[in-house]
């Protein structure tokens, strides 16, 4: 059995229809999974003797604006043992913006999830320190969401007072 089949079968062993879609585009292997099972999937991928996806290289999100499921959270993980990269996508149900944090599995996801919270407003439940990464702490918006204007919202970030 090759590695790709093995990944899909093992994730599917967690529960019924956890893998929703498998795609491959230009040698990038991608599985779309059930977002409520993300912790179990992460644990399996990292600790399974055959897979050993030990390194989480990126966590980000997609804002689909008008689609039924508005947000998709995307994880990029690397298996050093197999020299294989896997992309995991998790659709969030409806207009929900909450998903379980994977920091307990991959420590490197900490800042990536903070960045995703800052830019997309995805709440990572049980994240140890979910503060903003780039924008000031008192900023109220999430700049990479589709409804956010490119030039920002006037007055939303304070400037120092002008000198007379």
């Amino acid at each position: 059995m090759n590695l790709k089949e093995s990944i899909v079968n093992k994730i599917n062993s967690i529960g019924f229809a956890v893998v929703k879609e498998v795609t491959e585009f230009r040698d990038d292997f991608c599985v779309k999974v059930d977002s409520t099972k993300i912790i179990e999937i992460a644990n399996l991928l990292k600790y399974d003797e055959e897979l050993k996806f030990e390194l989480c290289e990126d966590v980000t999100a997609i804002d689909w604006a008008t689609r039924k499921n508005r947000f998709t959270v995307v994880y990029h993980v690397l298996s050093l043992k197999n020299n294989f990269r896997l992309r995991i996508k998790a659709d969030l149900e409806g207009t929900s913006n909450e998903i379980e944090s994977v920091v307990s599995v991959w420590g490197s996801a900490n800042w990536y999830e903070r960045e995703t919270w800052d830019m997309y407003g995805i709440k990572f439940i049980n994240h140890p320190d979910l503060r903003r990464m780039y924008m000031p702490e008192e900023f109220e918006y999430h700049p990479l969401r589709k409804e956010f204007p490119v030039m920002g919202i006037p007055g939303s970030v304070p400037l120092p007072k002008q000198i007379d």
């Binding site: 924008m135 700049p143 956010f148 030039m151 920002g152 919202i153 400037l159 120092p160 002008q162």
Partner: protein, 170 residues
């Protein structure tokens, strides 16, 4: 400086205090290198031996604002950085001048975006704007010369009764 040519046999000259103070100020404008991004590289080459800004008395880059007269804001200023830039400017002793070096500082440049201040003149009193992305060293030297011209026209007393800044202390 041409000063010695003015000396006649007796070795003294007459001038006004304003002129001599302005001359002293213009001949030693110490810059604060507020190098925030790529413009800083050109600022460095402006002081290197090839372009040699020390010909104009401005080679002494001080990395503390307390010893500076001129702030060269070289690079993209984001909203978050704006508070830092302003805080450093506030620490410089009067009289002080500001050069907005390059497109980003002058107008936001190519960063027409929510996170970049669209021109530092929104929170700093800019004296000279420098065009370019980044400006060539000659252009920066020209800006320093413009500052010198501005200092030449100033009076020594211009800063005497200046009120202390209204600091935004957090």
């Amino acid at each position: 400086m041409g000063l010695e040519a003015k000396l006649t046999g007796d070795g003294y000259l007459t001038t006004t205090l304003d002129a001599i103070i302005a001359w002293a100020r213009r001949s030693s404008v110490w810059p604060m290198p507020m190098g925030i991004s790529c413009c800083a590289i050109e600022m460095m080459s402006a002081v290197d031996p090839k372009y040699d800004m020390s010909r104009f008395g401005s080679e002494v880059m001080r990395f503390t604002p307390r010893q500076c007269d001129l702030m060269i804001v070289a690079g993209t200023v984001t909203y978050k950085m704006a508070h830092v830039v302003r805080r450093i400017y506030d620490q410089m002793p009067d009289p002080k001048w500001v050069i907005a070096m390059g497109a980003c500082t002058s107008s936001g440049g190519m960063y027409r975006s929510y996170n970049v201040v669209q021109g530092i003149d929104q929170f700093l009193p800019v004296d000279v704007y420098t065009a370019g992305c980044p400006p060539r060293p000659e252009n920066l030297i020209n800006a320093v010369m413009q500052i010198q011209k501005k200092i030449d026209q100033s009076k020594a007393r211009d800063w005497q009764d200046k009120k202390a800044l209204d600091l935004e202390l957090k």
